[in-house]
Subunit: 345 residues, 2 copies
Amino acid sequence: MAVMGRSSRSLKQMIVAALMVAAASFGPGTACAQTGPLPSWNEGAAKRSLVDFVGRVTREGGPDYVPPAERIAVFDNDGTLWAEQPEYFQARFAFDRIRALAAEHPEWRDRQPFKSVIDGDAKGLAAAGQTGIVEILTATHAGMTTAEFDAIVADWLRTARHPRFDRPYDSLVYQPMLELLGYLRADGFKTFIVSGGGVEFMRVFAERAYGIPPEQVVGSSGVTRFEMRPDGRPVLVKEPRVAFVDDGPGKPAGINRFIGRAPILAFGNSDGDRQMLEWIAAGDGPRFLGLVHHTDAEREYAYDRQSPVGRLDEALDEAERRGWTIVDMKRDWNAIFPPAPRGGR
Amino acid sequence: MAVMGRSSRSLKQMIVAALMVAAASFGPGTACAQTGPLPSWNEGAAKRSLVDFVGRVTREGGPDYVPPAERIAVFDNDGTLWAEQPEYFQARFAFDRIRALAAEHPEWRDRQPFKSVIDGDAKGLAAAGQTGIVEILTATHAGMTTAEFDAIVADWLRTARHPRFDRPYDSLVYQPMLELLGYLRADGFKTFIVSGGGVEFMRVFAERAYGIPPEQVVGSSGVTRFEMRPDGRPVLVKEPRVAFVDDGPGKPAGINRFIGRAPILAFGNSDGDRQMLEWIAAGDGPRFLGLVHHTDAEREYAYDRQSPVGRLDEALDEAERRGWTIVDMKRDWNAIFPPAPRGGR
């Protein structure tokens, strides 16, 4: 065990050093002066609460010590690890996909909700309601094998650009959260995503973007059907049926079903994370509950109680009442995104 | 990365050493003479195929090298990691639970399937069919919080004894498979259970019995409901509804949904594992597919094509045809179970 302990510390030092190099490359005005962990986090209550929590649960012999196997940390994805405006990125993927398939579906030109998507008519799309969403999901997320879907998503991530930032969607991840993920992992935490997004969609980029392997991504999912193809090759076909919705009260259920152990640290950013935070807070032992508050219209977006996407209202009140950590993006983060990728991406 | 490489090798050496000490404690007639890995495996084709496969996928620069992150190994549970006769142990748990609750349910004395369970009437129970099974599952696996269910299972594991071996059920795990799990983990594999058994049932003992943490247990599951109790404490209540059946064609679907990455090694023991093995075999790159064949009536049980529990028929034919590894328990294993626990357990 002594070997593991040494290795764990060395690994941590290496990661911290790597993060400092990364931070230094941001150029003037950012984190150059910082020398400790979490360089993109400004000194303040939010950063202090994180560093203090990690220190307490990793101090062997201390009253709040948590063994490594129980250091489970869960993160919402949309609005917590990557951006979610002006629409959830997976919705943008679905709309782009409808437009890419439109040539093969001339009938869509006169049929809702497809007509609205093709025409970029937000009002018409809203009028199509829940039924419209199901039709779009069926047309874009079902009827192919799991491997085919992966390839479609990967291709979209390679080619699509965010309308405001003009860079790939999976580069619009929050630099301070990348540092936090690395900081936690260096301290023996296992980091998971617990998101309302589609699990198969997220797994295409989660390992590359966040260092979170597929088996640590929990999300909403559809039913798949095992099918033996005529050539004797078995495949899984994505069916147009929802298997599990990992949002709101579904998040604690998803943690129970997919992880099976109560996390000790959780981060969200919207009312959809409320029950997850409540359920985790109710466990025994030390707990860290955090919310990202989008307060920076200049560098990212500012929205909370009124936003149709990532609405943060009741959970914000509860976080204030219960003393959970609220990260004020504008005040607490000195960088938002990593530097834009060069070249083709 | 050099640090990690060194640590990984040291850890492996430590685990191999620990296994050798454990093997030596079995006493005469078992594995004392063995000095390499997998001491409870006799020299032969099965052991050779395992050691050869692990050697190939871990040899950096070799044609079959697989990076550690992709070294996913999956194991069925019933009949593969622990025994499953004379009935699946989870069924025995359910029957014991019915008998324990019978005093609170006088109406069960005259109602099927409960009457048959209480009287130990196998024929009556069989006559109750699928409906009977659902009623037993509802009475024993629903209507309580997830934490309450965990405590009930833990208590049963502490007190119940196997009818033939007179020892706790979770001590009837296969020593050679424990060694294999450790051997794989020392070589950077991540080991998962993928079983038709209930995921919440297995998670109570999987970490202690196999070193497999809850988040690496995939199984069948029921629906849970998030409920805020009057005292403000949120809980998850187990409902009498099946969410997912992780058996047969459900196993590849379960691997896709819960793990999201194709395993490179899989072990099963019955026709319920067939589609999982077929699907994994169809992937690119090196693959190891294995079946445990129960051939040892003296030390464990002998059963295959005709058994109502753990029936191995079509998968056995397919394994022979395709050259998958078939472990002949009697011939290939020099030990079956670890030494019986002492004292209260």
